[in-house]
């Protein structure tokens, strides 16, 4: 087998992708990659508010993926595919891009897309109100359910809509990707 890593490096650089991860994902990888994100951003002479927004969109996206894997496992659907994530941090002109993709059960994908579309239709004030309303709801006891605030927070920090796309993998699963520009 032959790998051309230089070609991969060039492909990533031409797409303005600065940091990229693909593989089994864990909290310690989230932390280490998060360090790299912050190091790169702090060298970039950017406003601290933008730096914090990029970092928090990264954290919310990746922790959503981890929570999803735990939730499926709690439903009796333990599958190594849910432990995998593809994450990249890059640039698009003067904006920063945080993108991630993971395997999602087909039963969940449409609802996730609908949630994102609904958030994309809200303005800043409505998102702020939605965040507050959701944060006052009693926490779910369901494993991996989280506070239900991650996507709202990502929407608040993203300029323009959160882009999402589904790629069918099988009858049971899709690869679900989201892209946020900050």
């Amino acid at each position: 087998m032959y790998f051309n890593l230089l070609q991969l490096k060039k492909t990533l650089e031409e797409a303005n992708i600065l940091i990229c991860f693909n593989g089994p994902f864990s909290q310690s990888i989230i932390e280490e990659l998060g360090n790299a994100v912050r190091r790169y951003l702090s060298n970039d002479q950017m406003e601290s508010a933008v730096l914090m927004d990029v970092f928090s969109v990264y954290i919310e996206q990746t922790q959503n993926i981890r929570n999803y894997a735990r939730r499926r496992e709690a439903l009796g659907d333990k599958n190594p595919a849910y432990e995998m994530a593809t994450v990249l941090i890059g640039r698009d002109g003067d904006r920063h891009i945080v993108a991630s993709g993971n395997t999602v059960h087909a039963d969940d994908a449409a609802a996730l897309a609908a949630t994102i579309d609904e958030l994309n239709g809200l303005d800043r004030q409505e998102l702020r109100a939605r965040f507050k309303e959701q944060s006052r709801k009693p926490a779910s006891n369901e494993v991996g359910r989280g506070a239900g605030l991650g996507l709202i927070d990502i929407a608040r920090k993203t300029s323009g809509p959160i882009q999402h796309m589904m790629h069918p993998l099988s009858e049971q699963h899709v690869f679900f990707q989201i892209i946020a520009a900050i």
């Binding site: 601290s48 508010a49 970092f55 954290i59 981890r66 926490a139």
Partner: protein, 126 residues
């Protein structure tokens, strides 16, 4: 009651609750993997402290970054304090933020909006 202490880690803050003074201090960043599991023992500890003592409680938050799960957990802590204040307890919350970090200030302001207990915003590096 005993003190409650948790060492800081990369994604979770130092927690230092001094039972003799009623000062509960959280310092660092907060985005642990299972945020609710991290905060549940602290919530239980605070509840017990409120039930078994009558000391004033001061919650000092020095958190430079919190994830959304932590927002939820802090609101649960605030609820306990609001309830205690309603029962006549002397309670206060201080939110420290680095003046260079406007997001930390905004987070503190959003917390302050819905609270009845005294909530100080303190712009000071920590």
């Amino acid at each position: 009651m005993n003190n409650y202490y948790v060492e800081p880690r990369k994604s979770s803050p130092e927690v230092n609750f001094d039972a003799s003074t009623g000062v509960l201090r959280l310092t660092g960043e907060s985005y642990p993997e299972n945020t609710f599991d991290f905060y549940a023992p602290l919530l239980a500890w605070l509840q017990e402290f409120l039930d078994t003592t009558s000391l004033p409680v001061r919650l000092v938050l020095q958190l430079s970054y919190i994830n959304t799960g932590t927002v939820k957990c802090l609101l649960d802590l605030f609820d306990l304090l609001e309830e205690a204040a309603g029962n006549g307890r002397n309670v206060g919350i201080a939110w420290y933020y680095d003046p260079a970090n406007e997001r930390a200030l905004e987070t503190g302001e959003e917390f302050a909006e819905d609270l009845k207990v005294p909530f100080e915003l303190i712009g000071e590096k920590f």
